[in-house]
Each structure stands twice: as C-alpha cells, then as structure tokens.
Symmetry: C3
C-alpha cells in the first residue's frame, strides 16, 4: 500500500474508532484542541485533578501532556495520569511548550520524559533543540533560533528517551532515532495563530490512538494537519478567517484530499514505512 | 398566550433586563459561554475564588455551576456561591459535565445537588442517566450509551432533588418530575463543536434569571438555542463556520424567528404550560 | 511628524521588533489575547507560576497583569513578575477587570498599583471610577454606571499612582494626569464580544514595549485597535463574524489605514504629543 493510502486509511480509522483523547493541557488552547479533536474524529476530555486523572485516562485512546501554562501541581497530575497510561499501554504524546525558555519548563519536561514512557514528543525546533542540548533558543513559546541541526537534535532526543520525536516547522521531521520521515505540508498562516503547534500535537495523539507505529502515526497526523491548512489557505483573508476555514477543512478532510496532497518522504535508508506491513 | 409567544417574550425580557450570569465553569468553555451570554442579552462574569464568589453572586440574576474541569477547591467555591445564591433566591443552573465518567465527577455533582437547591440541571442523556442510576455511559464528557429511558431518568432525578432536569439530545426533555416538555429544535452541527452543551446551560441560566417557572425557562432557552442553530446551519461549510453563524444567529434571534421556529410540546397531561398564566 | 504618522510608525515598530508580551491574565481571554498579540506583531506567552514568572518576564518587552479571574496565588505571581519587570525597566500594563465589583478585586488592584510601578492602567469607566473613588458601578465586569467624570477620574488615578490611565468607552481617554488625549475610534460591535477590553490592553502593551512615552503608546494602541474595528464592521453579520473580520483587520492594519483613520486629539494645553520629538 502506498504511504498516502495508509495515511488516508488512518484518518478514517480515527473517524471510525472515535478515540477519547485525554488532555492535561494549557489554558490557552483548551477550547481549540477540544474542537480539533472533534473535527479529526475523536472525543476530547480535559481533566487535570489528581483525584480523577488515573480513572479518566483509563478510558482514553491517548493522553496529551502539554506544559504550556504549567504549575507544579499540574505536573504531578501529569505524572499520575502518565504512569497509569503506561500501565495500560495507552500512548502519551508530550508537547514541551516553552522548553528552554525557563528552567521550570525545561526541568518539568525532562522529568516527564524520564519518569514516563512517552510515545511521541512534538515540539518546535527551538524546544527540541533545547531538550536535546543542541542549540535552539525559545522566547516565550516561540523558537527564535532554530536547533543547529533539527534532524540530529530530534534523533538524539529520540534515542535518549526511546521515543518518537516530531519537530514541526516549514519541513516537519519525525524520527524514532533511526527512521526519519519528512512532512512537507502546512501553510504560513499557521504561524499567525496561537496554539497551532498544540493542535498538531492533538492530531498526532488521535492517530497514535489508532496506530501503534508512532513514527507513521505522527507523520500521518502532521500530513493531515498540513493538507487541511493548504486546503484552507485560499479561503483566508487573514488569520481568523484562516482558522475558520482550517477547522472546517480538518473536519471534512477526505481520503481523496490526503491521497492527492500528503507529502511525506523518508530521509533514512529504511523504506519500510512506505510499504504495506 | 401561545407557548411560542411566551418564549419570544422571555427572550426579549433577557435583552431588556441584561441579567448578570455568574459562571463558575470549566476552562474549555469560558470564552464561548461568556460570548453566548452577551449574545443572548445577559452580562457574563467568571469568578471562582472563594474569597469573592459570595459577593459576586449577590449581583447575579443566575449562577451557573459547571464541573467540566473540576478540582476540589473549585467545588468548595461552588458550594459557597451556591449557598449564598440560595439565601438570595438566585436560581442555580448545574451542568454535571462528565458525571458518570469518574467517581470524582459523580460524587461532586451529587454533593452539589444535595447541599444546594438547584433550579435546573442540564446534562446529556448519559450524564443524567448516570446521576439517576438509570443507565447511560459517559466516555470523557460524551454520552456513548444513552440512558435507558431519558424521560424516566430525568423525572426520577427531578423528583429526588426537587429540581428541574433538562436532558439535551436529538429531542430535548425538560421536566420537574411531573410536567414534561419536549423541545425538537437544534441541529447536527452542534455535536461537532465542544461546549455546545455548556452554552445551552448558559442560555437556560439567562432565561431562569428572568422567569421563575424553571420548566418554562429551560424549555424556552433550549428552543431559542435550537432555533438559532437551525437558522445558522444553511450558512455553514463545517463546524467552525457553523459556530460563527450560530453565534451571530443567537445575537439576532427575533420574536418572529421564535414564533415561526420553536417546537416545544407537552408530553404530560398538564397543559398549563401552553396557556397564559 | 503628524500624530497619525507616528502611530503608523509605532505599529510598524511592533511588527519589526516582535516584542514578547508576557501575560498573567484571566482564563476567559487567554486564547483571544494570544491571537491579538500575534496579529498586531508581537509574541505572546502566558505563564503564571511563581517559580517561573520572574525568569519569563525577563525576556519580555511588556508585562500584562489582568485580574479577570483572579485568585490570591495569581496575585502573588503578578507581584513577583511585576517586581522583576520594574527592576528591568519592562513596562507593566494593568487591566483591573471588575474593580469595584467585589472587595477582593478592588483590593487586589490597589495592591498591584501600590507595590508596583505600573506604566499603563486600562479599564472601563466604571473600573477606573471605582479605583479613583469617583463614581462608577461595576456589575460583574461591566460598567453599568459610568464614572461621574471619566477625564477627572483618570487624571486623579494617574496622579495618585504616577501612571498613565486609559479609560475605554465610546470615547477613549488617555492621561498621565496632565496631558490628556482622546481617541475616537472603535465600533459598537466591540461591546457584543467578551474580552475586547482585555485585547485592547494587550495591544497597548505591545505598543508600550516599543515606545517609552506611554501616553502616546496607549493612545496609539487604542487608535489602531479602533481603526481595525471600524474596518471590520462592514464585513460583520453579527458578533462572531465581526470578531473574525476584526482579527483579520488587526493583522493587516497598514500605515495607510492608520493615517486615514486614526482620530486622536489632545484635550490638554500641551501639544507636544502631536509634534516630532
């Protein structure tokens, strides 16, 4: 099966299975990521209290941990939910928002990566560079200096924590440390809106809930996210009208659109991703 | 006066009186429900600190308690605000988001219902079923299995806590345990957006602030909410453009549109709702 | 240089410098104000934990303190961030949401004004009147009774705390206690949406980050905000479509539009604002 066909099939699988995506996430994007979860085909829930997160995550298809507006008690809840997710084999997708910007953020993300088995880490080049110790400067939550070598930084981080790392930017990179996929979908409008990185993380989580090859799941999620952005762009008059068109496009995103539009290529020798398993 | 005429009159009363709707609600929907409050004609305020909730609620026309992203200290604030509201005769509208999904949510909602006199409980069929102990399965915040008999579950819950229960779904049910009204307005697009149940709760609260017959207030609020959704649907290209058109429609919703569009019928013998009082 | 030319130049300076605007703000408007920050040309970050706010604010061009959904621990974080901002000469813009509505809100805002050097306070007439002790009644977060004399109330508050006060309403007033500017831009649709005052505060912060004459910065920010609203209004069918058009207009707001549309006039004898410095 060609890669785009597999991506299209995964997108449909999300629609069919309607996985619950449990988010412990930041206040800025809760509404947006709940909507994106619904539009891609999943069910969202936001729950952060330590008394209920273990019970809630047990119903979930994936757990999103996002430190965008972190405080220590939320990190504790993330660890409780994450450990339960690990016990149950539920994939965790981590969004290390602002890693590198403050020591609290860098330390909290490292702690999550050390104490939990994280399926996918999705960050911008500055965040991933900072976590890998390979360059990247984060101002607030924005990468103002890219990692020196995003592919190498992602591979190092993936190997260090035995996880899959997705670096989003003009070209997205997804790697488990050996296999490397590049995703060349997306649109400049995405940078004019808050929380589009967080929403990409949510889409990856929805795909990780239905596909255990997390390299494929992350690349497929990012390709779908990017194709929807490309479909929306011609309808936009600015960031806000782009957002409306983009969300509509995520909801309607069809197998035909994915087959025609997804641009995922392997940068590693291993070509297994592109063939049927 | 015909029922639709009364609903139209209540909608106008909200616009004239501009009741303050004090929300202690979840992080996901705060922005949406504040906007819906304004669009229907009220004034929103979100305040959750126990030091100020009693003082804030004293100015309000209604109090919304919504446990969508609960934590124990917020429940304490809800109880403080709720007790003050009870003292002052200010109606409380409870949205038991995710009741049945975790024991914390189920227990917290029961506690609110036991310690406060709640004017209206608005939930989906799964939440109401779970609270009534009559079926219903909630996954996250979504009813994945409906209550066995939504009307019976609503009636039981209403009788148990001497409240009005509104169950929203394809057909909305409103009952005080004896009178039963059905509302057949709304649109499928509502299910593609997060927080539409919470927004329906807010609209009910605005109507409860201006009408002490809470069965009528809840049914009127749901009918207006649903008529606005129906008016918006032809303008939608997807969930996000639906949301824009829907909010615009709530704002503009006129007596003529309500008279022509509201579909509320009595399922009980008591026909008093449909006649002038 | 004519005043409108200077305003246009400041708007462009924001785009060029991309200042980080650190918000410690309320849950209702976080998403909106993050987007408005991006659209006007800055970078937003929301961070409230006392362990990281001092480190985060050190990167910022301005700090927004907004008490819309306050609790005592957030006030503590505001004080920590604010003191560090004062040490570093980073301007603080305070939005005293709901001052006058509850004693907690009034006391918290006074404490912030007493313990910090605040560059600009932006509130509605009720909030500023309440803080100045000169009339104004606030119901929730809305001014239901205006200050007796908004200009006098703003001047008194400005003198008392050696700050710049911006009172927004049909006519906006900006004063440092002696100089007084009036801004006659804006549109009625702004009142139909939640958080537009908070968004105006954010725009003022972006301008204060690039211009140390805070009277000019505040007036310029409000003029740009208002011109964008006027440009958006003809495209609106209601509050939600207005919001989309408004955000798009903020993003695209050009020097030509500002030159043609800004309406700022001096109400004080001092004409220095209108000439080149």
């Amino acid at each position: 099966m060609a890669l785009n066909e597999r991506i299209a099939e995964l997108r449909e699988r999300v629609r069919q299975q309607r996985p619950l995506i449990h988010h412990i996430t930041n206040f800025v994007v809760m509404n947006d990521t709940a909507n994106v979860t619904l539009h891609i085909g999943g069910l969202p829930v936001m729950a952060h209290d330590r008394e209920e997160v273990a019970e809630m995550v047990a119903m979930a298809g994936a757990l999103v941990l996002n430190v965008g507006t972190l405080s220590p008690d939320w990190i504790e809840a993330m660890l409780i939910a994450g450990k339960r997710a690990n016990e149950l084999g539920i994939p965790i997708v981590l969004d290390p928002v602002g890693a590198g910007a403050t020591s609290l953020r860098t330390a909290s993300n490292r702690r999550l990566l050390e104490e939990l088995r994280v399926a996918v880490v999705r960050g911008n080049s500055g965040e991933i560079g900072a976590l890998a110790g390979m360059g990247g400067v984060v101002k607030g939550v924005e990468a103002v200096v890219e990692a020196d070598d995003p592919v190498a930084a992602a591979q190092k981080l993936a190997q260090q924590y035995q996880t899959v790392v997705a670096v989003t930017g003009k070209r997205d990179i997804v790697t488990d440390g050996s296999r490397v996929l590049a995703v060349d979908n997306g649109h400049e409008w995405l940078k004019t809106l808050t929380g589009t990185g967080c929403s990409a993380t949510t889409v990856i989580a929805a795909f990780a809930a239905v596909e255990r090859d997390y390299v494929l799941a992350a690349a497929a999620g990012l390709a779908c996210f990017g194709v929807a952005a490309e479909l929306a762009a011609p309808l936009a008059h600015g960031p806000a009208s782009f957002k409306v068109a983009f969300y509509d496009a995520i909801y309607h995103l069809s197998a035909e659109q994915i087959r025609a539009g997804a641009r995922v290529t392997s940068l590693s020798d291993d070509q297994s991703i592109a063939v049927a398993r």
